[in-house]
Amino acid sequence: MAVLMDSTLPTRRRPLGTLIGIAVIIAASVIGYFLFPNNLALLTRIVATMLLVLSIDLVTGYCGVATLGHAALFGAGAYGAGIVSAHFGITEPLTMTLIGAVAGALAGLVSGIVILRAHGLPQLVLSIAVVHLFHEVANKASSWTGGSDGLSGITTDALLGLFEFDLWGRTAYIYGIVLLLIVFVSLRILVQSPFGMLARGVREDPVRVAAMGASVHSVMLRMYVISGAVAGVGGALNAISTQVVGLDSLSFTLSAEALVMLVLGGTGSLYGAMVGTVSFMWFEDVVSAANPFHWLTIVGALLIVVVLFAPKGLYGSAAAFLSRRRGGER
């Protein structure tokens, strides 16, 4: 029986994919750096939002959990990093980022416990309720969070004691890109790991996963915690680079916008999340600078066009198109 079968099994998708991804991210960031040297603040914001969108993709794209409340996790990270700096004098950026990740993970645990109690529309509504609760708590705890005035007074040491976070935002940008690369590689490892496979299984058929003896709920909850850490890093990056945290970072609006970006790019793939964020925010920036008064209509039209002509999202549809072109090669 013990035939040497493994040699006949061609292995697919070697780490090459990850390497290409890293190369693309680095190339894009270098191009961004030189093409828009005066726009680094915006680029940093895009990176921070990208982390939030990646984090949504982990639960929505990989586990099939619909959420309109993910900003709760992002905001927890931002406030976590901001509060330790403004109130406890912990101003070392790496520590702040780490604290942001932990705060995000905790928020992920809490919202996961709540949100995973239902499915479909009720689940969506639970996620909305959660983000509103977080928002209310932050508004009430104004002695800690600054309430609606925003948390100001966040200071940050030079990164590694060498690089100041300055007006031009170079340090913040490069730090953001490094964080993004670390997160990207970690997530690539995660989604290709047995756990990642299990999560995809949960998305496709939770009953089957349970019949294999795995706990669907615990898979999703763990993913929520991981997703919280990722969003928390994004929030912390935002707090470090802008030195202020507002209630908007815990808002339903941000949650919805981030979900739109994800669907725009295509769910269930890390690239889709990143492509969606860049396209949406870049488009929004261009259109709103060109016409600050009526850009919303144009963004709305873009969304409709995408659904009509690229129903799997920009990246998803492009990938599907390419693989169809290549035929049954894979």
């Binding site: 619909a66 009720p122 969506l124 309720a129 009526h294 144009i298």
Partner: protein, 287 residues
């Protein structure tokens, strides 16, 4: 005791306004299974048209309502044919993306066409005063809204449960291919239901305008409230939506009376508790 009665009557009125607007959404989401985030946008169009008809064209309240509701439904028909038809049966997230896009467009266009200010729909003499209930005064239009809510609930129930159209609709929803094989023109049924749902949205937008004022951001501002109401009621269920709206109205009103500073907090906490206890809605018909 007076206070309790007073809160109860406020809760009833608010719940009914919520019901008139949300029931259309419940129909689209429950029967046609479309996550229609643009529902508020249609309510808003109704409000704008009614405001335009009364203030600029000088029409009376009743004809303005009629015209606005019909016109909104007419506007909705091409939108259904061109856009919604593509997303029936599509994944929920795709529907979210499309309907948010529609909402953005409607907001932008309303802002462009009517300007960013508040629009009011002047009430006729008979509805604009207050009625003294003995223990307190209540605005007449609130009584009007309560009556409208009851009529809508009854009418819809009759339409869906007791008419030939209702039978076709339920058949098309339960099993579209089978219904088609039996000679039901499902596309037409969908189009009509959509128009009815949109018409109800417009009606709710107008009747509720005293509470939820008409302005360009209406469509997004109240979207969550409508979604919550539908979800708690269980999409597609008329009694469910009615109970849910009254319940939410009660929670909201009581919360605002007893602890306004935590109003929002308790409201969403209650939502979490209810959804956890009834994950399929109070009377979920599907799914």
């Amino acid at each position: 005791m007076q206070t309790v009665l007073s809160i109860a009557i406020d809760a009833l009125a608010y719940g009914m306004v919520l019901f008139v607007i949300s029931i259309g959404l419940s129909v689209t989401m429950g029967l046609m299974r479309v996550v229609n985030l643009a529902h508020g946008a249609f309510a808003m169009i109704g409000g704008y048209l009614a405001s335009y008809a009364t203030r600029d064209l000088g029409l009376g309240y009743a004809p303005a309502i009629l015209i606005a509701v019909v016109a909104t439904a007419i506007i909705a028909v091409p939108i259904e044919r061109l856009l919604y038809r593509r997303i029936y049966g599509a994944p929920e997230l795709t529907q979210v993306l499309m309907t948010i896009g529609i909402t953005f467009c409607v907001i932008g266009l309303a802002n462009y066409a009517f300007g960013p200010t508040l629009k009011t729909i002047p009430l006729p003499e008979t509805l604009s005063g207050s009625i003294d209930l003995g223990f307190r005064a209540i605005a007449t239009h609130r009584i009007f809204a309560i009556v409208c809510g009851l009529i809508v609930a009854g009418g819809l129930w009759f339409l869906i449960e007791r008419t030939a159209f209702g039978i076709r609709l339920r058949a098309a929803v339960d099993n579209a291919p089978m219904a088609a094989a039996l000679g039901v023109r499902t596309q037409l049924v969908y189009a009509v239901s959509f128009a009815v749902a949109v018409g109800l949205a417009a009606f709710g937008g107008i009747v509720g305008a005293e509470l939820l004022p008409v302005e360009p951001y209406y469509a997004l501002r109240y979207m969550v409230t409508f979604l919550v109401a539908v979800s708690i009621g269980g999409a597609g269920s008329i009694p469910g939506a009615l109970i849910a709206c009254l319940l939410l109205g009660a929670i909201d009103t009581t919360g605002r009376y007893l602890a306004p500073e935590y109003g929002e907090f308790f409201f969403y906490l209650a939502v979490i508790v209810i959804v956890t206890l009834f994950p399929r809605g109070l009377a979920g018909r599907f799914k």
